[in-house]
């Protein structure tokens, strides 16, 4: 059931980047989503992410991530107008409530809530894209040289997680057939039943850990200094993508210096498009950020480009 949320090798272009490239690209996206206030800019980032996620065949997984996000979004949208009093354009005069005072809901507060929610969805989408685009093994491989043992522990945990989920399901079925009803009884009784379930899992996992350790020792683990086997390759596509990411960041920082990407909500909401430069800066940043997307399309449709990147 969790399968679709994790990385799957699909042989897609966007999955072929060097992990460092992907990390830099996603980091730039994350920084921009945090420094931009402008709803239009955030919306543009959200749409770009939607296209990227579609390109890695991950709309199903995105749906799962968004379900959790939408709930948070509704909470933010409902709570913000109730507690913020800075807005000037009152759209509803509510009653006075102890501690909170008069419940006047302003247009600006609703607007701010919506923009914050959008930022939240953008951040969630970035993590979703990370899961779809990058093999965690390769990311860990990047850090093997500096933190070998910690990386190995994380790798082992990653590798054992799906196995443990399957084991848990099997043990649950076995216990159900031995007369355990997990859905009946008081909270305490249920907790006791589940403790039995996890007990079996823990005992089996500990035994399994010994066997894995033995297999590691048989393959000379701990016999001296380790070397690192890396499968990561730098291709022209990585250079393009890194260049695009850095240029997007530079353009964004330059734009922010002149106020493009900033937005004033209180006391009165700013214009969405103040001037033509707002759109021009947005277009430039978006263009640089779209490099992986453009390359992916080119890879699919242009044989020349395919051979060069």
């Amino acid at each position: 059931m969790f399968d679709r949320l994790f990385y799957r090798e699909k042989g897609l272009f966007l999955q072929s980047f060097h992990p460092a490239t992907v990390l830099v690209y996603l980091l730039v996206l994350l920084i921009l989503s945090l420094i931009y206030d402008h709803p239009l800019y955030l919306l543009a980032l959200f749409l770009l992410l939607a296209l990227l996620i579609r390109e890695v065949d991950g709309l199903d997984a995105w749906e799962g991530f968004l379900k959790a996000g939408v709930f948070l979004m509704l909470v933010v949208m409902m709570v913000n107008p109730l507690v913020i009093r800075a807005g000037k354009t009152i759209i509803w005069h509510g009653p006075a409530v102890p501690f909170l005072g008069k419940l006047d809901i302003s247009m600006e507060a609703v607007y701010f809530g919506a923009a914050s929610s959008l930022r939240l969805l953008v951040i969630i989408s970035i993590f979703c894209l990370y899961n779809l685009m990058i093999n965690p093994d390769r990311v860990l491989n990047l850090f093997s040289g500096v933190a070998g043992k910690s990386v190995l522990v994380i790798t082992l945990a990653t590798r054992l997680f799906p196995t443990m989920v399957r084991d848990l399901q099997r043990i649950r079925e076995v216990q159900q057939l031995r007369g355990v009803d997990f859905d009946t009884g008081s909270l305490w009784q249920r907790a006791k039943k589940y403790s039995g379930l996890y007990n079996v899992l823990l005992l089996s996992s500990l035994e399994g850990a010994m066997e894995i350790a033995e297999s590691m020792q048989a393959r000379a683990f701990g016999s001296g200094k380790r070397s690192v086997y890396s499968r990561n390759m730098i291709r022209p596509r990585d250079l393009f993508c890194l260049g695009g990411s850095l240029l997007a960041l530079l353009a964004a920082v330059w734009g922010l210096r002149y106020g493009y990407g900033r937005y004033t909500f209180y006391p009165e909401a700013d214009f969405l498009i103040k001037d033509g430069a707002t759109l021009v800066v947005l277009f430039i940043v978006l263009f640089y950020l779209s490099v992986p997307l453009l390359l992916s399309e080119g890879w699919k449709h242009c044989r020349f480009l395919k051979s060069k990147i």
Partner: protein
Amino acid sequence: MPLFKVENLTYYYPGTEKPALKNISLEIREGEFLLVTGGSGSGKSTLARVLAGLIPDFYGGRIGGKVFFRGRELRVLDRRKLAREVGMVFQDPEKQIVQSCVEAEIAFGLENLGLPPDEMSRRVAEVVSFMNLSPVQDAFTADLSGGQKQKLALASVLAMQPRVLILDEPTSQLDPVSAEEILNVVKRLNEEMGFTVIMVEQRLERCFHLADRVLLMAGGEIICHGSAAEGAREAVRRGLPFVPPVARFFACLNSPVVPVTVKEGRELLQSYLKGNIPVTKPDVPRTNHNSTAKEHEKNSIISLKNVWFGYPGGREVLKDISLDIKEGEFVAILGENGAGKSTLLKIMVGLLRPGRGRVYVHGREPGRNGFKEIRKFTAYLSQNPNDYLFQETVEDELLFTMHNFGLKDRGQVDEILHRLQLERYRQRNPRDLSSGERQRVALASILVTDPGLIILDEPTRGIDLGLKSELGQFLREEAAKGKTVVVVTHDVEFAAEFAGRVVMMFAGRIVAAGEKHAVLGRSVFYSPQISKLCRGICDGVLTFAEAQEQLGPLLVAKPAVLITNTGEKAIWGLTGGCTPH
């Protein structure tokens, strides 16, 4: 100079007073294929671990005697150097994979050896293509099948380019096709690449003939070592089951030549029986089964009518299954991996609901939470007995099930412990027992409710031939008492020996079902070794006892002049027989 030389080796695991190995002395030549066999607790895996340098380094314990590798004592060898020379593959593929990606797993040992990146890349590439792992090179290890995982474990060891390959029951957890694949690779490594192979194995019918030498162990001692034929004769003489059926058949008849493959066996049989071949199918007594009329009178315990099932988002696993299993039947369900056997069992116990079709168990139609309606009458043993064990003592394990069903008759606990020979372990922690004993405890924990229907998923996986025989006997007795037994298995020998009826599945469909002789006797690939030996000579023979009964009198009748394995002529006249295992 021998590759390995073992002198008076004795070893005790930590906290034990009984030696796991007693006075072992042994020499292993370079390039040899040594097969080590014996029952559970015979010390074969311990010996393998000593040779791999894991005992006492990893396990601790007390050790006496000496082990030399290429003239140098093993204990003084640098661990990294030893790992370059001796590689070991373990039993459970699930428990020896460290990395989440196939290629990274192959490189794991190489990283531990501290090899430079270029050397690692070359070795990984070589092994991937030799083991034909290219299609899964970038796959997640968790997504691989059991057979692929074991291939990966072997590849990971081979990448380290050891001189010696030690394999501890590498096929015990695999289906026959995957097992065959692993054994073929091992054979090639030994014959074409000169690897020294030391293999601990119980599936003898597939590897006995590969061995240059067979080592038979019992109670921590070597009781016989010699050629495959000598090993077979000695095992038969001692009444041990660790011989493939064809070899046992001839060794029991005191044949001067003991063939170890079906081909050799057939040649021998034909040369002896020439002109005297029974052309018609013999009237093999079909065990104790009642007549067809009586069968019809029996109550139907499981009835599946046009059952279809598919997992959400997945392919159809079961397609139009109709099956009727009656009271007192012992049914074996055979088929390749992914044929839908385990899903069928889950439908039978109500853990899954069919998409279409009807399922009746004990006359009830399980609805939502179907297992609640039928679980009191149904015992279900999954593939992994460890899933059942979490109580402090064996007795508590049985009482846990009884308590859940509100049963209070402690006499039932005594009886089931007695029947499964577990009385002496009553107060022991089940996790301290051996794998065969754990399986019996798991079985006891579900049989304590005295169910009418016993369903087992791959119960013979990973247990030795002796325990397998005991389990089969036990289940046959239960069926004789009127209980219904359904077993999913890859083990054709087990099904042929103990089941009454066989159901064969393929791609979610039942392709054959009926009395075992009718189904297995007609199959070429899904037939026991004895049946393959007798095909065309005495059709319809499935078991060792039937072969003795049908062919014995013909072979006793006249002596024959045979060419022995060493090329000498021998007069063969039968002088005795032995009991089947």
